[in-house]
């Protein structure tokens, strides 16, 4: 099994990652608590809300707490209401020296933070043309996933349920279709409220998951980060090992008894 662990890499835009757990950095009680949880999660991709970061301030609290980590900082455009705002934020991040990888979020509704598919598509097109590696947050819409993939998005990131809702994989069937049809990694983002939800997404064949609220607002964020790490690994191994079919053949009158007679 160690072979599986060392060789089963997540590859996004030519870059490989051993960890399949992405973590967010919002909602934590302090920078120090957040950093301990990030480290415990083993994540190699950590998202940062650009609106929270003072890019002009070299001693920005959030960036200071993340300094020196062995992970890729993935800035996100949360708060952007339309494509124009998301593109401006992404460009600000690149101008400040961050790598041109962007988790694209266009969420015009501040209540459920649901992604606007139309504006996301527009922004993705502009950013990809401009040389960004784009990882778009999206509704679990299989057709939109194909459209984003066709534009050149590095992944698609469908939601399990609304951000912060902790409701788990409410979009399970649609995510199954996305995974079945996708040529780029599928990262289930948002709504995963318990390690079991993350394991479920990985068992389904998701290539990775992103978790924030469930870790940040746990009583022990470090402990919860570790629990998610283990759940993601367990779910991935279960997927690779091949889950037995869950459908049970029902005993009924033989349908093929006439054959071979």
């Amino acid at each position: 099994m160690e072979f599986v662990k060392s060789q089963d890499l997540l590859i996004i835009a030519g870059r490989s990652f051993q960890s399949r757990l992405l973590v967010g950095t919002g909602k934590f009680a302090s920078g120090a608590v957040m950093r301990r949880a990030v480290d415990a999660s083993g994540s190699q991709m950590v998202t940062v809300a650009l609106r929270r970061v003072d890019l002009d301030n070299p001693r920005d609290d959030l960036m200071a707490a993340l300094a020196g980590g062995d992970f890729l900082l993935l800035p996100n455009t949360s708060g952007a209401r339309d494509a124009g705002e998301a593109v401006r934020l992404a460009k600000l991040a690149r101008a400040s020296g961050l790598e041109p990888w962007i988790k694209l979020e266009v969420t015009p509704d501040p209540r459920y933070l649901l992604p606007d598919g139309v504006e996301t598509l527009k922004a993705a097109e502009i950013l990809i043309r401009d040389g960004f590696t784009v990882l778009p947050y999206m509704n679990a819409d299989p057709i939109l996933a194909k459209r984003l993939e066709a534009l050149g998005c590095a992944t698609v990131m469908p939601l399990g349920s609304p951000i912060g809702s902790n409701k788990g994989l409410k979009t399970r069937d649609a995510i199954g279709i996305i995974i079945e049809n996708s040529a780029v990694p599928v990262i289930v983002d948002a709504g995963l409220g318990a390690p079991s939800h993350a394991a479920e997404a990985m068992e389904l064949g998701a290539h990775a998951v992103l978790v924030n609220t469930a870790i940040a607002t746990a009583e022990d964020p470090t402990g919860m980060a570790l629990a998610f790490k283990l759940a993601v690994e367990a779910g991935r191994r279960a997927f690779l090992a091949g889950l037995p079919q869950q459908r049970e053949a029902e005993a009924s009158s033989p349908l093929t008894g006439f054959l071979g007679k």
Partner: protein, 384 residues
């Protein structure tokens, strides 16, 4: 339909009658439900629910944690002017009061803003009284223009503007508006606002809608607690917030809880609201509106503010001075209301950390929507 028109269709008296009849069993049923609808909200502001503050607080705490996390956004008011043509009986800026009238010059605005920036603030609330001949929209635009590159977010708490006025300030860099109706009761409103433009209840109530139409993305409302029966105000406040959320679904709606404590001269709050009632109101609103920002200013004393943090608060001011120029030149008189929490911003931030929350100074980026107002204005002009 405006909210003002909608409110006329609401029979507050019968609703309040129902509120007073609520039984403990009804409260328990409401608390057991997954979501709090308007009828549950009425149950939770009832006298019966006053005995259930602890379970309400637990639910409100968890709801807020899930939606907002362990963070409190800090902001500071910057008073541009205390000139005012209104005669509001509770207000320190009333035209009927004798006080040094000050309107900051551009250099003074910059100096006060620099002080606040050095304290750490990136979210400012620009405040003035209602004196458009002394502080016209152009002066607001000028102030916004002076500050917009140094701050992440600039909101206004100024006299009601027309929709073109809101388009102008949005183009100049404002992204939010805070405007308290003070009281939703028309009779009380007219008693406490005896003179000035503010007498026009509907012009004020509809201002927040004009701002929403103009594209301002943070809309703050509130009542001045103490002017009228708090339960009656709570009904209108909850309906108003809910209505704004549905109509301006892209805006962040927040509710403030300004409470009359020590109003100037001998004005005594006719319906004083005690701490317990303030908490009940906050908790009920949090459960009814899980996504609303809840704001507590320095009108409240330090000890109470610290205890309110885990009950659903999302934003706090700190180190506030409510007289123009007061950060660099504090004055005894000339302030709008008396500040009860006298701690420095750093001390408030430390108290937030002690409560297990992170004080957040920046949660927006002005540069993200730099041209937003201009675009809206161009669209408006093209459509005209």
């Amino acid at each position: 339909m405006t909210f003002s028109e909608k409110l006329l269709t609401v029979d507050s008296q019968s609703l309040l009658h129902l509120v007073n009849q609520v039984t403990p069993e009804q409260v328990e049923r409401s608390l057991a439900r997954r979501e709090t609808n308007f009828s549950d909200f009425l149950t939770l502001i009832s006298p019966a629910a006053a005995h259930y503050l602890e379970p309400m607080a637990q639910l409100a705490h968890n709801t807020t944690l899930r939606r907002f996390g362990r963070v409190i956004l800090l902001y500071a008011p910057l008073y541009l002017s205390n000139e005012c043509t209104n005669a509001c009986v509770y207000c320190g800026f009333s035209i009927r009061r004798t006080l040094p009238r000050i309107t900051l010059s551009p250099d003074q605005i910059l100096a006060e803003a620099k002080y606040l920036k050095d304290c750490g603030f990136r979210h400012l609330l620009l405040v003035c009284g209602e004196a458009p001949s002394i502080v016209p929209v152009a002066a607001l635009e000028q102030a916004l223009d002076l500050l917009k590159n140094d701050f992440a977010s600039l909101s206004l708490e100024v006299y009601p503007l027309s929709e073109p006025g809101y388009l102008q300030v949005a183009a100049a860099g404002a992204d939010g508006l805070t405007l308290y109706q003070e009281t939703y009761d028309r009779n009380v409103y007219s008693q406490v606002h005896p003179a000035g433009r503010k007498r026009d209840y509907d012009w004020r109530l509809e201002a927040i809608e004009r701002a929403g139409e103009a594209g301002l993305r943070r809309l703050g409302i509130g009542v001045l607690l103490g002017l009228h029966d708090w339960r009656s105000e709570a009904v209108a406040l909850a309906l108003h917030a809910d209505w704004l959320m549905k109509r301006f679904w892209q805006a962040q709606i927040s509710i403030s809880f300004p409470r009359l404590r020590h109003a100037p001269d001998s004005f005594a709050a006719p319906h004083p609201v005690c701490d317990t009632e303030l908490v009940q109101l906050m908790l009920a609103l949090r459960l009814f509106l899980p996504d609303a920002g809840l704001v507590i200013s320095t009108r409240e004393p330090a000890e109470l503010r610290d205890r309110l943090i885990p009950l659903g608060v999302t934003q706090m001011s700190a180190g506030s001075r409510t007289e123009p120029g007061g950060y660099l030149h504090p004055a005894e008189d000339g302030s709008q209301f008396s500040v009860e929490d006298h701690r420095t911003p750093a001390q408030v931030a430390e108290a937030i950390r002690r409560a297990g929350y992170e004080p957040v100074w920046k949660d927006w980026d002005y540069q993200m929507h730099e041209n937003h107002g201009n675009n809206r204005q161009r669209e408006a002009q093209a459509g005209a």
